[in-house]
């Protein structure tokens, strides 16, 4: 089956499944309701479940430096929950939300997780954005046996019974993208640049191994800039000296904006230089400016311009809820999946108990995701596709490539 056939097939299948699912759900909401699922039966561990409601938590930074990134995730999660409630909720129970602010401060994430799990007894938490905040909160989730849906693409090297990762781990985001650019652009030499912290460093390590061992290419430079540094003059000159076929970039935050502006000003625009970045989504474009990005490539699993019925509907509803100017990036979409996956798992398990939900979710195939078909792997990550987007001046990307489904591999052998 060629990839386009396959796409066709999946499209058809997804429509079918979507329809049948919707029918099934309407039946459930119409007749079943909470009475069919007595509270005593569906919640045996003291979670905040009543006959009418179930409480979940949202834990992101609404304040501090990370608020820039995490706002989209909060919006998406709330949208998904509102939609679920409109459809009748989960096991006939309306979802109530306790939202906590992590304030861009990692111990606060741990402490708020503890509050959500121990005081509020939430059935699930949708939250965390940076790896540091997840790492801080993780021991709490493991100790209190909570359930976390984590939306960000991240470096992998982690797998917990209590966490589902709805974004991509590093190999999913990196390998297919490098394969594509090597084939498409006949790239032989790569220059790797990232912010100086764990995600870029891990990603670059995987990228380097892949380039050198599997693609027969050469890494001509590897560079890390301090978080928050905004001066790229010397770095850009080094790149000019090495003349790489491709710049592979994972710069984040304020540095990212400065990086693109200064790169363009130094004459390295997309006409002269191929760049593939793994740290630019539609959210970042607002700060960088479309004119500075035009023609460069991003590797993500989701772009707002994706053409499929699920996404059209999702984008329309997101804009209806948060205004015409709202943009949706990769993480926002991944965050949107969290509540839906949880709902599906609870219904498969027929229970809110974390132990049962955790067992029920792996193997679940979701066809209604805006990004298309995804499947939950036994390792708690999602099977998903990788797309390459080429940025336009208006801040949106044209999807120029779509891979097949990629298995998540958080502990990649041969890349460590």
């Amino acid at each position: 089956m060629s990839s386009s056939d396959r796409r066709q097939f999946i499209k058809k299948a997804s429509v079918l499944v979507g329809v049948s699912l919707a029918l099934g759900l309407s039946m459930a909401t119409g007749s079943a309701s909470a009475a069919d699922f007595p509270t005593a039966a569906v919640s045996t561990t003291g979670l905040a479940v009543t006959d009418k409601t179930v409480t979940v938590g949202i834990l992101h930074s609404a304040t501090g430096t990370m608020a820039i990134s995490e706002t989209g995730s909060i919006q998406a999660e709330k949208l998904a929950i509102a939609q679920i409630n409109e459809m009748g909720g989960v096991l006939g129970r309306k979802i109530e939300v306790v939202q906590e602010d992590g304030a861009s401060d990692w111990p606060t994430f741990a402490e708020k997780s503890k509050k959500l799990l121990e005081s509020d007894k939430v059935a699930a938490v949708f939250g965390c954005w940076t790896s540091a905040s997840r790492k801080a909160a993780l021991p709490v989730f493991e100790k209190d046996n909570g359930l976390l849906f984590y939306p960000t693409f991240y470096e992998g090297l982690e797998q917990s019974k209590n966490v589902f990762y709805t974004g991509q781990e590093a190999t999913q985001q990196i390998l297919a993208g490098l394969d594509w650019i090597t084939k498409e652009k006949k790239a032989k030499t790569f220059y790797l640049i990232g912010s100086d912290y764990i995600w870029p460093r891990t990603s670059m390590k995987i990228a380097r191994k892949h380039i050198e061992q599997h693609l027969g290419g050469k890494v001509v430079g590897e560079e890390y800039v301090a978080l928050g540094d905004t001066q790229f003059g010397s770095v850009i000159n080094k790149i000019k000296l090495k003349k790489p076929d491709v710049i592979y970039a994972a710069v984040v935050g304020g540095s990212n904006v400065a990086w693109f502006k200064q790169l363009n000003a130094a004459g390295l625009n997309s006409k002269k230089q191929t760049m593939l970045t793994i740290s630019v989504t539609e959210d970042e474009v607002l700060g960088i400016g479309g004119e500075n990005l035009e023609g460069f490539y991003s590797a993500m699993k989701y772009f707002q311009t994706l053409k499929n019925p699920n996404n059209d509907k999702f984008v329309a509803e997101f804009k209806k809820a948060y205004g015409e100017n709202a943009v949706i990036g990769d993480v926002t979409q991944a965050a949107y999946l969290g509540p839906w996956l949880w709902k599906a798992a609870v219904e498969r398990a027929g229970s809110f108990d974390v132990d049962k939900v955790v067992v029920a979710l792996p193997g679940y195939e979701m066809t209604t995701a805006p990004e298309g078909y995804v499947k939950v792997d036994a390792n708690h990550h999602l099977l998903s596709k990788l797309r390459i987007g080429k940025w336009r001046k208006d801040g949106q990307a044209d999807v120029v490539y779509e891979s097949g489904l990629i298995n998540p591999d958080p502990f990649p052998k041969g890349y460590q």
């Binding site: 706002t71 540094d229 003059g233 010397s234």
Partner: protein
């Protein structure tokens, strides 16, 4: 040499020299306002970065207007003037409400302005959103000059450089060639004497502080061409700014210029030969060690204390 042709090495050296100069003008613009406020008045303005952001947001706001009225090609000059005026006014107000009560307690100005910076950050966030924004830049500010086929000189770098030159000359003429500047220097050197000869020292203080803030606003507006604009971006600049001023010997304007030059060259060269983040650490470390050996800064003169 290292497998490169002489031509390539030459081109890189030209461009590397330029990025050193460009970093120099960035640091200079950053530090000039602070050199006036901290160096001349002794006020430790931790909200300096936020005053820069006042300028940056002004530029962003103006660019939105410019897009609406189709003036994208010419608005930037006005944006810079507006940034100066707005930051100047806010500075004036802040001096009146806050700073003037604290002249005798310099360490407390540090704490109070830190509080101010929190308030300003949240104000930016509430009015412009938590996400980073960018100003629509005129065509003539984008891209690069190409004196030869292989040399690119960034236009925004040149722009920042020219602006740094203009502002520095402006400050120089104001401080050393005008009556206003004379009053400032007199007040700084001997407050009591200055007021005895009829200088309204309170007014001078207020205008000096406001001037420093205004210059910070100008640099903030200029930096929208090379880096990001967000509620917390200002805090990225604060340590660098203070390092430049302190390293130069706080009270000396020439010192600030020389130290911006020295730090820029060091950082630019170190970042070329080491990884960028280690280059930054090495630069800061060098400054700290030199400051420990020569706490009065590089360019302070020996006087009877």
């Amino acid at each position: 040499m290292f497998g490169y042709t002489m031509d390539e090495v030459g081109n890189i050296m030209v461009m590397q020299g330029f990025s050193g100069l460009s970093l120099f003008s960035v640091l200079l613009l950053m530090a000039l306002g602070l050199a006036i406020i901290f160096g001349q008045m002794g006020v430790i303005n931790m909200a300096h970065g936020e005053f820069m952001m006042v300028g940056a947001y002004t530029a962003v706001f103006m660019s939105k207007l410019a897009v609406k009225y189709e003036m994208v090609n010419s608005y930037f000059v006005f944006a810079i003037i507006a940034a100066f005026i707005l930051a100047f006014l806010i500075g004036y107000l802040v001096e009146y409400l806050l700073i003037r009560h604290l002249y005798k307690r310099p360490l407390d100005t540090l704490l109070a302005t830190w509080g101010l910076s929190l308030v300003m950050q949240q104000t930016f966030r509430s009015s412009f959103g938590a996400k980073e924004v960018s100003a629509e830049l005129p065509e003539w500010l984008l891209g690069s000059f190409k004196p030869t086929a292989d040399i690119d000189i960034p236009i925004n770098g040149v722009f920042v450089m020219v602006l740094a030159l203009v502002v520095t000359l402006g400050v120089y003429f104001f401080m050393f060639r005008s009556r206003g500047g004379l009053r400032v220097r007199a007040t700084v050197q001997n407050r009591v004497m200055a007021s005895a000869v009829g200088i309204n020292t309170q007014k001078v203080d207020r205008l000096t502080f406001a001037l420093g803030c205004g210059i910070a606003g100008v640099s903030g507006a200029a930096f929208t061409t090379i880096s990001s604009t967000g509620p917390t971006t200002g805090s990225l600049y604060i340590v660098d700014s203070f390092m430049v001023v302190v390293f130069g010997g706080a009270a000396s304007l020439m010192g600030t210029i020389a130290s911006a030059f020295g730090i820029a060259q060091a950082q630019s060269i170190l970042q070329f030969f080491m990884t960028s983040s280690m280059g930054k650490v090495a630069t800061l470390m060098t400054i700290v060690i030199i400051l420990m050996m020569r706490p009065e800064g590089l360019f302070a003169s020996k006087v009877r204390r």
